[in-house]
């Protein structure tokens, strides 16, 4: 049994009168601990695929099993729980809450999950140390550099120890040096056992992944493993 099993996933957007077939019958399995890059031109369906994997979007047809459970058809409350416990997100534009400190941003998923404050503080300190930002805990996002912000966001994405880490263009807003640092951080997490799925335009990042999916017009064109 694979960690992620997609079977004939369709996603159709209705825009006015026309229908856009964003995903066409995608069937895909991903094993635990894989490092996967999803590549393709804009509008090829990469992000839609990522959203469905992250339970932010529902497919029109098809089945999605995560760790053996049918999660694609769960009610919203239970999907939220799966997101909370099994999935971490990293976004291109970091998505840190501006009014919260770095530490509070990292603590947000634990707060939403109802974890007690004492345990939160401990885990936040560990997580910030893990991304090398222990001295920036009380800084607001606007007081941090882009690379630092993304590292805070990664600490937040992994604080609930998810099984799958989904990253949507994680280096898209960063220069090459900090981008490489962030990529290495994500790869460290992957080496520690987390499944890493990265959507990217960057061919260099695609080269680093152990498996590369090539998408075009909502369909899988290539699935290369190294």
């Amino acid at each position: 049994m694979s960690q992620i099993e997609l079977y004939e996933i369709d996603r159709i957007f209705e825009i006015g009168d026309s229908c856009v077939h964003a995903l066409k019958s995608i069937t895909l399995t991903i094993d635990a601990g894989e490092y996967l890059a999803v590549m393709g031109p804009s509008g090829s369906g990469k992000s839609t695929l990522l959203n469905i994997l992250g339970l932010l979007d529902r497919p029109n047809h098809g089945r999605y099993r995560l760790e053996g459970h049918e999660v694609g058809a769960l009610p919203p409350d239970q999907q939220a729980r799966v997101r909370s416990e099994r999935i971490g997100f990293v976004f291109q534009s970091f998505h840190l809450v501006p009014r919260l400190s770095a530490a509070d941003n990292v603590a947000l998923p634990m707060m939403l999950a109802g974890i007690p404050a004492g345990e939160r503080r401990r885990r936040v300190a560990d997580a910030l140390a893990g991304v090398g930002l222990e001295s920036r805990a009380d800084h607001r996002p606007q007081q941090l550099s882009g690379g630092q912000r993304q590292r805070v966001a990664i600490a937040r994405a992994t604080i609930m120890r998810p099984a799958v880490l989904l990253a949507d263009e994680p280096t898209g807003n960063l220069d090459r040096t900090t981008g490489t640092e962030v990529t290495e951080l994500l790869e460290d997490l992957n080496r520690a056992g987390t499944t890493l799925i990265v959507v990217t335009h960057d061919p260099a990042m695609g080269e680093r992944a152990h498996r590369c999916l090539q998408m075009e017009d909502g369909a899988l064109r290539a699935d290369r493993r190294r």
């Binding site: 409350d77 998923p109 939403l112």
Partner: protein, 403 residues
């Protein structure tokens, strides 16, 4: 999400946009302050009136000549068109009733009062020695009218504080001669200054024996008779006894009207309480308006924070948690507004009391509780729609908005 975290998160969200939060709290505050001040005013007026009536004596039955019909003109009113006067003998007869402690007949009229060349027009009340106890009058000097029986037209007068000041000034008033109309009296007592009073101001009264007043005004009839019952519980019995005695004396005609203090006070109490309620209701409209503002502002907040809501969903917040977060924010804002409003309201009520010392303008506790509850209910009630909208946002589109 734990309740403490929920409140803290909502608090941070609220303080994140101070202007929006401030305006909303202000709207709520004005509403609550309006409720508090207006009910303080209404209830103050009610208490003022009730206190005034109670100071007149609460176990009194007041006998008025003539029957007041409230049913308009009918056969009954036509057939009893001749009313008998109340006389001093009627008043004396009432003392036979066992529940009656004392009575005070009243004869009233205007007369010119003069002494030592100073002259003024005054309200003259003819009564008996018991009047002082029935009306709880305090004497500043001398003594009240002596107990000489009802029929004796002696020449003693008791005067109010204002009359004393105006007619005698610094000169001693006790024992002085006083001319009232065309009759001469001697001042034997001066009433203590009582300030304002409902009905008649005792400071400007001249009190003489009832028989003397009747002679002065050339009448045999009484303006009314005050009957004091032994205790409050005996009022109903006294009332029917008084009615029976007078009916027997008036050839079986019911030609008097009996008022009890309780009925009058009760009526005023009810009227003014209703008025206070009405005023509170009007003030509550401003709370409803504030509630609509809360909704408006929270809808804007949902739009402004769409990206954040998307993020919270991505981080595992269930729709219910997002709904609670926004409801908590609306509730906190309402509470803050209500607290400010209470402060404003109590300050306003204190100001009212400072400006009108005789008005006990204390906001009733029910109004304070109702104001708080209404503000919270409207805040949360009108927060439901925005909170539901937030909870239903599509996370993919919400995330695309950025933070």
């Amino acid at each position: 999400m734990k309740p403490f975290d929920l409140v803290r998160f909502a608090l941070q969200a609220a303080t994140g946009s101070p202007l929006r939060t401030g305006l909303m709290a202000l709207a709520m505050a004005i509403g609550v302050a309006a409720v508090v001040v207006l009910t303080a005013l209404g209830d103050g007026a009610r208490r003022y009136v009730v206190n005034e009536f109670n100071s007149l004596g609460s176990n009194l039955v007041i006998v008025l000549p003539g029957r007041t019909e409230t049913g308009g003109i009918g056969i009954g009113t036509l057939s009893t068109s001749t009313t008998r006067d109340l006389t001093l003998r009627d008043a004396a007869a009432l003392l036979r009733a066992d529940g009656v402690v004392r009575i005070a007949p009243l004869v009233v009229g205007d007369a010119e009062v003069s002494s030592g060349g100073r002259l003024r027009s005054s309200f003259v009340v003819g009564t008996t020695s018991d009047f002082a106890r029935v009306r709880r009058l305090e004497l500043a000097q001398g003594r009240f009218l002596p107990d000489e029986g009802l029929e004796r037209a002696s020449s003693w007068a008791v005067i109010g504080a204002t009359i004393r000041d105006e007619l005698f000034g610094a000169k001693p008033a006790l024992g002085a001669r006083l001319r009232i109309g065309d009759r001469r009296f001697r001042v034997i007592g001066v009433l203590a200054a009582s300030g304002q009073g409902l009905g008649m101001n005792t400071d400007e009264l001249v009190l003489v024996p009832a028989a003397s007043a009747q002679a002065m005004f050339d009448t045999n009839s009484l303006f009314r008779i005050l009957v004091e019952a032994r205790e409050r519980d005996a009022l109903d019995r006294v009332r029917s006894q008084v009615e029976d005695i007078l009916m027997a004396r008036h050839d079986g005609e019911r030609d008097v009207t009996l008022l009890t203090q309780d009925a009058v006070v009760g009526t005023f109490d009810r009227i003014l309480a209703a008025l206070t309620l009405a005023v509170a209701g009007i003030a509550a409209i401003s709370l409803a308006v504030a509630g609509i503002l809360v909704m408006n502002v929270m809808l804007v907040a949902v739009t402004q924070r769409t990206g954040e809501i998307g993020l919270l969903k991505a981080l595992g917040a269930a729709p219910g948690a997002i709904r609670s977060a926004f409801l908590a924010e609306a509730a906190l804002l309402s509470l803050a507004g209500a607290a400010i409003g209470l402060l404003l309201g109590f300050t306003g009520a204190a100001l009212l009391r400072a400006v009108f010392p005789e008005l006990p303008a204390y906001p009733p506790s029910w109004a304070v509780v109702a104001g708080l509850a209404t503000s919270l209910a409207t805040g949360v009630g009108f927060g439901v729609l925005p909170a539901r909208r937030a909870a239903r946002l599509d996370p993919v589109q919400a995330l695309a908005r950025g933070l």
